[in-house]
Symmetry: C2
Subunit: 222 residues, 2 copies
């Protein structure tokens, strides 16, 4: 069984957990506290970041987007990238959008400041960053509604890694109760569909000691 | 002929120019000043960033890593990703390393502060950022030497997108004369090999008005 080094409210780790579950791959989960910079972990990923997937043979695959590509190449069914090169480019563009742009503009500002900073005792959360994150999220929720108004899922007809990447990030922000769902019914409809998938269940059952999620977090009919 | 929207000292754009040249694909280059947020450009890439490759049929592919995957899928020869899934994961991991980690820790701090900020009249360069960039680059040059001490190229036996991503970023920093080559002979040897490829020539001939590169920049025997 492969091993996944991850951290509970790390959105990139959540994407890989969803991808593994959608592909029906069981993996042993190991929590990695990356800030401890464990030598053994740095040997398998010199970048020192989660997620890292370690295959049975010992090969280590680092980075969420790279792991998704690897899973698609080694376990083709179901296809989570798309049938044509253009389709796959669209899925990858949206993965980059959420894993990098949404991360920088929203998740880092909200989850990073409000939750991780406290957890790691890194000082007082920056109110300007939190304000920016709260403003930026509207634009991204509008974009999700724009896309799903034209397509069944974010990148096309079928569920893809793009939906999982977006939902992984939103689930972390939703854990704080910071997603203004009521103002964005289109994005909410899409998220309800992703959230109700069996792959999502383990994420909704997770709880950080001392910081429980709001009631609606695990509610499929939120 | 495809069109590439790019910007001269944008490292991600340079990666795609190198990738196109290594694959023998001619493309029409169009400079895009992303900060002007041209409506027509935002329509083809809502993220508003370069590079964007527009195919003859009109399909637009955004983001350097996504464009490289697309080029490999649509023009298989020469292979720039690697023969096995594990090889490809290693190439992609190093692409992410340079396109995201090196970008954040080095290029943004040096090229972003010293060159783009002045060009865009965004205020005084932050000396703490410049100092951080100058310190961080040593670690990355050591990592390049570590890898090429064990392999012919960064990700394995053959030249790959990983080499092009690393060299694209380093070429932008080198334009400022900010790469301490003399302290890193291993990285210098590797860079000399990439730099002497015909694909690199157009980048070395480029010059920004008012900010010429140092003498060694275009010198293959630097």
């Amino acid at each position: 069984m492969p091993t996944l080094f991850h951290f509970p409210l790390n959105a990139a780790s959540r994407l890989v957990r969803l991808a593994l579950a959608e592909k029906g791959i069981e993996a042993e989960l190991k929590v990695e506290k990356t800030w401890e910079r464990r030598t053994e972990f740095l040997t398998i990923n010199p970048a020192g970041e989660v997620p890292v997937l370690v295959e049975d043979g010992g090969a280590a695959i680092a980075d969420a987007q790279v792991i998704c590509e690897f899973l698609q190449e080694t376990r083709a069914d179901p296809d989570m990238l798309g049938p044509t090169a253009i389709d796959r480019a669209e899925t990858r563009r949206l993965m980059v959008w959420f894993l990098q742009k949404f991360a920088r503009e929203v998740t880092d500002n909200l989850v990073g400041e409000k939750l991780l900073k406290r957890y790691l005792r890194l000082g007082t959360p920056r109110t300007d960053a939190i304000r920016a994150g709260g403003q930026n999220i509207h634009y991204h929720l509008d974009y999700i509604a724009f896309l799903t108004d034209r397509r069944n899922w974010l990148a096309g007809d079928k569920l893809s890694f793009a939906d999982l990447a977006a939902a992984a990030h939103l689930s972390c922000v939703d854990y704080l109760g910071d997603v203004p769902w009521e103002k964005h019914p289109g994005a909410k409809d899409w998220y309800a569909r992703v959230k109700s998938r069996p792959s999502f269940r383990p994420l909704l059952q997770e709880s950080l000691a001392g910081t429980p999620p709001p009631k609606h977090y695990a509610d499929l009919d939120f």
